[in-house]
């Protein structure tokens, strides 16, 4: 065979073959590990957070090619974002950045979103002051329309 055929799109294959941010952060500020109920796979994301911003991210994944690529892409995407922004991260961003995933493989990108959120929760648990501030801001935001109407 001279041509090469791939199971996934080029970007997915690239992230599978050359995963970005693979590994652990020894002095992580937040670590999240989640399992996929659907297929039984496991993903772990570690975050370094400074002044409310994600300065570094790493992943480790026990899972299919799409799960590995999703975690690699997710860690790329969230670097530099604030905690609040990251809390609103959606798996759709990973799917889009990867150039799409087969329907049956969407849950692998959800796993990346869940691992990231678990890592953020872990961080917020350790930093109740930040958690309180995040909550305050959220409350302010949901209250905002009322204020506008008043």
């Amino acid at each position: 065979m001279s041509e090469t055929y791939t199971l996934y799109g080029q970007t997915v294959m690239d992230h599978f073959m050359n995963p970005r941010n693979m590994g652990d952060l020894p002095d992580a500020d937040g670590v999240g590990e989640v399992g996929a109920a659907a297929c039984g796979d496991i993903m772990k994301i570690s975050l370094k957070i400074q002044d409310g911003k994600i300065t570094d991210a790493r992943f480790k994944t026990f899972g299919c090619g799409s799960a590995i690529a999703s975690s690699s892409m997710a860690t790329e995407l969230i670097k530099g974002r604030t905690v609040e922004e990251a809390l609103n991260f959606s798996n759709q961003e990973v799917v889009d950045a990867l150039g799409g995933l087969p329907p049956v493989k969407i849950h692998c990108s959800v796993l990346a979103e869940e691992a990231l959120k678990a890592a953020l929760e872990d961080y917020l648990k350790k930093h109740p002051d930040v958690a309180a501030k995040v909550k305050e801001k959220e409350a302010a935001r949901s209250a905002a329309p009322e204020t506008a109407n008043a």
């Binding site: 989640v34 039984g40 796979d41 496991i42 994944t61 026990f62 899972g63 299919c64």
Partner: protein, 422 residues
Amino acid sequence: MRRVYLDHLSATPLLPEAFEAMKPYFMEAFGNAASLHQYGLRVRDALAKARSQIAALVNAESAEEIFFTSDGTESANLAIKGVAYANQRRGNHLVVSEIEHPAVLNSVEFLEKQGFTCTRVKVDSEGFVNPEDVRAAITDKTILVAVHHVNHDIGTLEPIREIGRICAEKGVPFYVDAEASAGWLPIDVQQMGASLLSFSPHKFYGPKGVGVLYRNKKARLVSILHGGVQEGGRRAGTENVPAIVGAGVAAEVALRELNQRFAHTARLQKKLWEGLKANVPYIKLNGPEPGPRRAPHTLNISTEFIEGEGQLLMCDLNGIAVASGSSCVSKSLKISHVLAAIGLDHALAQGNIIMSLGKDTTDEDIDYVVQTFAKVVVPKLRNMSPMWDEFQRGIIDSVISPTGRGRSFTEHAAAVSGKPAH
């Protein structure tokens, strides 16, 4: 990059001699076997020849006992439904092993919806059916027993003759799916006591698009496809003549080379497993050890702490074609029903791949596979795996060689996901 094809249980390349024999039947000898002129008669002769070539491969008493279908799945459907419908006045109960191919299991499930009942016989941890369990499952309503010769996933060679004897004693037709064994292992329908036996020639260097069903004259069988009276009225539809001709040649060559193929693949299978075992820690063979209780041409292995689709992809990127029974490669996200039936731990089922060898696999191929798997595929994936790291740190334990430290993968997965993995 070296390319090593280790998925012969899915498909094999066509034999050049089969291809040559097929060629005239596309353009020059295009007639329909049902026609009564020169064109039809020539094709009829070709079909008769292929029928005897196939009959010889399985030692059928007569070529009339061989039917051609479109592939192994159709043959299995015809065997199960055709026998069930033909005997429904006698009874409505079937007995199958729980690790049969989906073509068999799903045919049975279809019949169950129409009022037939079925007993699925359990297998042991190596995938063996106990013939006594088959005996115990047979009732006076049983109209068919189905047990495959070799399991398509884990290579288990079932005790067919014993089961055949029990069926003969009880007077129940016995159907053997030989999809994973035909062309690789000797098959003798008379010694096996098989009333029906099926396979696909594309698994042993024949073309795709043709399936074989052997049916002993004494077994009642009705057609499940309705139309003309082709194939003795058992399978309506114009015969795929070129494919049938190719199948005949593939069968003749397989019979001639059977001992050679068997010895060659058995030797390389042993070499492959020993090489992997010696070079990859925490690896397990599923199904029986290489030897007389296992098909010679396939290995099913589980590598701990890494997932099967990742292994398959990483192998493919290194030129090695393999299959996997991991839940991640299945559309239903379920592990292979065979691995579940032998009670394989979920973590090991997730880390599963299947390597099936062929007549052209070489010693150098095996060396390359062992080296690449042990030095590239496994370390790269383990390096990425949180499970491997957690195993090193004593958080989770190995299923293959427990250290007594840490919880199981299943417990761990359930704890981190908040739900038990299936």
